[in-house]
């Protein structure tokens, strides 16, 4: 019985081993990124700028019959972003977020990514705001608005120009969902489309250095 199980497992393993991967922790690719993007919900415009710090970066090759069939890099980053959008007559929203970013870049340059984060939002109401006191005296509240806690998740795709051309740039499109709370004792959510570029100033400067080879793993 045990023999049979071991045989089946060995067979399955051999089948899986037709494809093998080789992972290299490539510190030469570990660099900060600067981001600038246009953000919008439907027709309401905004802008976001941010900086990304790498946590780790792995170049991964998938082998089949000793040939590379797929090559891609996996990156993990933490980012800090300053965002703003303008919704006329409703509010302007200035919000800071810290995000954890998972990014995968194919050898062709195609990027896919996912991010999640938290932040702080300060809204500014979209019109003069009045307050009436007990005696009926009316005053204008300056910079009227509210502070909210904020959570964001998002996903998108893009193209990394450094993979094929010598350009330290990537372009991306990303859909984020921001939720703010407590908003009128409930949650406010807003889908935000982000279109932007990412600049990697250190991408060709660093030629190092330390490479770690991870054990091959079955695919």
């Amino acid at each position: 019985m045990l023999k049979s199980i071991i045989s089946i497992l060995a067979l399955s393993y051999c089948t899986l081993c037709l494809a093998q991967s080789d992972s290299i922790n490539d510190s030469s690719s570990r660099h900060i990124n600067l981001k600038l993007a246009y953000i919008s919900s439907l027709i309401y415009p905004g802008i976001t700028t941010g900086i990304e710090f790498p946590l780790y970066h792995i170049n991964e090759k998938v082998l089949k019959n000793q040939k590379i069939v797929r090559y891609f890099t996996k990156g993990r980053f933490v980012s800090g972003n300053l965002n703003w959008y303008h919704h006329p007559d409703f509010h302007d929203n200035l919000y800071l977020t810290a995000e954890w970013v998972m990014r995968r870049t194919k050898f062709s340059g195609f990027i896919s990514e996912f991010s999640a984060g938290a932040g702080f939002s300060r809204t500014f109401l979209g019109g003069t705001t009045y307050k009436v006191d007990e005696n009926g005296n009316i005053s204008v509240i300056k910079l009227a608005g509210y502070n909210y806690a904020l959570i964001t998740i998002g996903g998108g795709f893009g193209y990394d120009f450094s993979m094929k051309k010598q350009l330290p740039l990537s372009a991306f499109a990303k859909m984020n969902l921001i939720t703010m709370f407590p908003y009128n004792s409930t949650i406010y959510f807003r889908p935000v489309l982000e279109l932007g570029i990412r600049y990697s100033p250190g991408i060709f400067r660093s030629k190092t250095i330390k490479e770690s080879v991870y054990p091959s793993k079955p695919k």
Partner: protein
């Protein structure tokens, strides 16, 4: 870099909140009134130079005033008067943080009073102001005009398919559904749709719980779909039509609606009635009702009409409307409102 952006943004915000008061025949401006944890949006549109303002108190709770701002109304009322669209607390574009505890009727009446005070502060104390309540909005208006001398702040009240007495409303909804349902069945129209409604009404005869009241309300909305005489308006098409041009904050409207629909506030208003205090009302009143309004049946309007002491009062029944006369019979609506306001301003 971030600091520069922050200061640029700050300048933009200050610019957006700069006090702007337009006196013209074609004004359009929004401002906010902050009270008890809520900043309520007020949109003023139309002829502010006329010094005649119609303040729309939307239905709900939790619906938004955005849905009342249509091209037809702008063209046919906004050209003569200034239309004022107020988003109640926890509705539409109104904003705040943990303010659910302040969501009750007395607070909304105080909110309304403050909105009127700000309107007069902005556009002149001598303005002619009319209230226009629709559905739940008329409950706020009924509370307002029966509170001390508040009715003196306005020139008249327009009650459109409104409710001033929720317990009576439930009774009348049940009766109206039974009457129309039995008629439609006798005519062999939508029989399979009407039978469950009739059955529910027959088995729930009075002293309605909040759940029964909500079920009657749900049947009342549904039943309008089975009446051919109504000039049906597709609300979804209407929303899509105006969501971009009127800059709807769609997700805020939705969040507020879901919160208000589910809040304890509904338990409070389920027992509210102002029939017994309406006798103090002496201002001119116009009542506009849809013949097939099962949500707030015409007999509710007649109860309002019979209890007020106003000498100048008028009741108009639209033969092609349900609960949304403002959209379903827009011609009657605009003509009657314009005539009433021109007479009493």
């Amino acid at each position: 870099m971030k600091q520069i952006l922050f200061f640029i943004s700050l300048l933009i915000f200050i610019g957006c909140q700069k006090e702007k008061i337009t006196i013209s025949s074609n004004a359009s401006e929004a401002f906010y009134v902050e009270n008890a944890g809520a900043s309520m949006r007020v949109l003023v549109q139309g002829n502010t130079a006329s010094s005649t303002f119609i303040l729309v108190i939307h239905g709900g709770p939790g619906i938004s005033s955005y849905f009342y701002d249509t091209k037809y109304i702008s063209k046919n009322l906004g050209d003569k008067f200034a239309m004022v669209y107020w988003d109640q607390r926890n509705a539409g574009a109104s904003q705040g943080t943990s303010n659910g505890g302040e969501l009750h009727l007395d607070q909304m009446v105080e909110d309304l009073k403050k909105v009127i005070e700000v309107l007069k502060y902005r556009y002149g104390q001598n303005m002619s102001l009319f209230l226009l309540g629709h559905s739940f909005g008329s409950l706020i208006a009924a509370d307002f005009i029966t509170t001390v001398d508040y009715q003196n702040m306005i020139k008249g009240f327009i009650n459109v398919d409104g409710s001033h007495n929720y317990p009576l409303n439930d009774t009348l909804t049940r009766e109206a559904l039974l009457k129309e349902g039995n008629y439609q069945v006798s005519q062999n129209k939508n029989v399979e749709k009407w039978l469950p409604i009739i059955s529910y009404c027959n088995s729930h005869t009075g002293n309605f719980s909040i759940e029964e009241s909500q079920q009657l309300g749900s049947y009342a909305s549904e039943a309008e779909n089975y009446v051919d005489s109504i000039n049906h308006i597709n609300i979804v098409t209407q929303v899509l039509k105006y969501s971009i041009t009127n800059k709807y904050p769609v997700t805020a409207i939705l969040s507020n609606l879901l919160y208000s629909e589910d809040s304890n506030f509904n338990k409070e208003i389920a027992i509210k009635q102002f029939s017994s205090s309406l006798n103090i009302v002496t201002i001119p009143v116009l009542l506009l009702w849809g013949k097939y309004d099962f949500t707030c049946p015409p007999d509710l309007g007649k109860d309002f009409y019979n209890h007020i002491s106003s000498i100048d009062k008028r009741f108009v029944l639209s033969p092609q409307s349900g609960h949304n006369l403002i959209l379903e019979d827009k011609k009657i609506f605009c003509n009657e409102v314009a005539s009433f306001v021109l007479t009493h301003r």
